[in-house]
Symmetry: none
Subunit: 237 residues, 2 copies
DNA sequence: TTCCTCGTTCACCACTTCTTCACCATGCGT
DNA sequence: ACGCATGGTGAAGAAGTGGTGAACGAGGAA
């Protein structure tokens, strides 16, 4: 359940936003001035921030700049009564992710926040790191690509991230919740089958491709584990 | 010990900066006018440049533009008394890496320079100034020219810089955000298609020109990668 | 001035990937 | 063996992403 920080001095509006975002599955927290907003951004690290520009304390512009200069990458959805093109362009330049002009519908706000939170998770950080090799499986983070028997596995971004995450914890059982948290940012989610679906696709592209090993093992009731297990004659499909 | 070129006409300030940067482990060199600054940038290839905009000789704006057009990628930290947002945006657009408004603390200057230098180190894998050759593609940063099959590719300055940037990280996937940051100095703004458009034009001039390879590969959902891939009979348009 | 080049933005389209769901298979405790 | 819980599978709609052509505007050149 992604946490959303609302920085808005009009209490009525803030409550409305909190209510709607809550109903949409977010975990809203709101503060009424810029100083507190910045502090919360720093120490609570919400998943998304909804920010009014006109604020007591430090204003929205300053808040964005300061946060970005400190390397805080939290997506910021700006909400403002002023919506000239100049304002919008400037806000985006200094690091806002989206700009909503008041008045707007709550439905739209929720949509933008949802988009921002998704985007943040998908945002690939600069590819870096050494390739990981496990038997005939090679995972190259610079190319964002995996190879089985030196054959490219053509993984999608999410598939790759899942495989990479499992590879980082090679041999250890990683729970679904952990994966959901790390790759999807969902704090808790009972009965979410997303991970299973991606594991299935990974198996199709990695395990099936390999002639000698299966790599992704299931631990019933717990999670998954990356570990090469030789294929027996019988187990080869 | 990274070399820092200081281009600043106020001698007192220049000395102060040199002293602090020296104390922070840099190797500072300073010059008092734009013409000399550009010359030093060209031939000494410092790791970072600290640049005052108001200068005798060619001014800071012109210096940045000229250097960038010549493919000089040295990170430039602009220092200026004028700090209107227009100035800042423009400076970043034409290729500055950072913008400090006077007065500023020496501590902050050092921090920015350090950050810029760190950024520079990452792209230092290929020595600057050397032509890069990848199959029948040759990229010459001194000439600011690229050749395919020894035929000049007639790239515009920005196209060239994009190609060069990709070439410096040959084989690695470079995200759009990274390119946007390095070439345009913009912070990622999510629906910016500028990079795509330039990639398209590069492909027109480079990939199409080559009879044997395609060079610019797309990694869906991540970014682009410079890597020669033989054209098959089928893929030749 | 007018003409050109270049950078930037936009809209449209095709395509890929993500997410969800229902249903089936398997594992586990009793 | 039985029944519940957990995991696997396929499909389909939703959402996101990239390629492309065109238009616009700023700035320099003629």
């Amino acid at each position: 359940m992604p946490k959303v920080l609302i920085v808005e001095d009009d209490e009525v509006i803030a409550q409305g936003m909190a209510r709607h975002l809550g109903a949409a599955g977010f975990d809203p927290v709101s503060v009424g001035n810029g100083t507190q907003g910045l502090a919360r951004l720093r120490y609570e690290r919400p998943d998304v921030c909804v920010l009014d520009l006109m604020l007591p304390g430090i204003d929205g512009w300053k808040l964005i700049e300061t946060a970005r200069n400190e390397g805080i990458g939290t997506p910021i959805v700006v909400v403002s009564a002023r919506g000239t093109e100049h304002d919008r362009v400037h806000a985006l330049e200094i690091g806002a992710d989206d700009y909503l002009v008041k008045p707007f519908s709550m439905k739209e706000l929720v949509a933008r926040v949802r988009a921002a939170s998704r985007r943040a998770l998908r945002r690939e950080e600069t590819p870096r790191g050494e390739p990981i090799e496990i038997e005939e499986l090679r995972i190259d983070p610079l190319e964002v690509q995996a190879y089985v028997d030196d054959q490219s596995a053509e993984l999608t971004p999410t598939e790759f991230r899942l495989l990479y995450q499992l590879a980082l914890d090679r041999g250890r059982v990683v729970t679904r919740d952990e994966l959901l948290q790390k790759l999807w940012g969902r704090r808790e989610s009972h009965r979410d089958r997303t991970v299973d679906v991606f594991v299935r696709r990974l198996r199709e592209k990695v395990d099936r491709q390999s002639s000698t090993h299966t790599f992704i093992q299931t631990r019933y009731g717990v999670g998954y584990r990356l570990e090469p297990v030789p294929k027996t004659a019988a187990s080869v499909s």
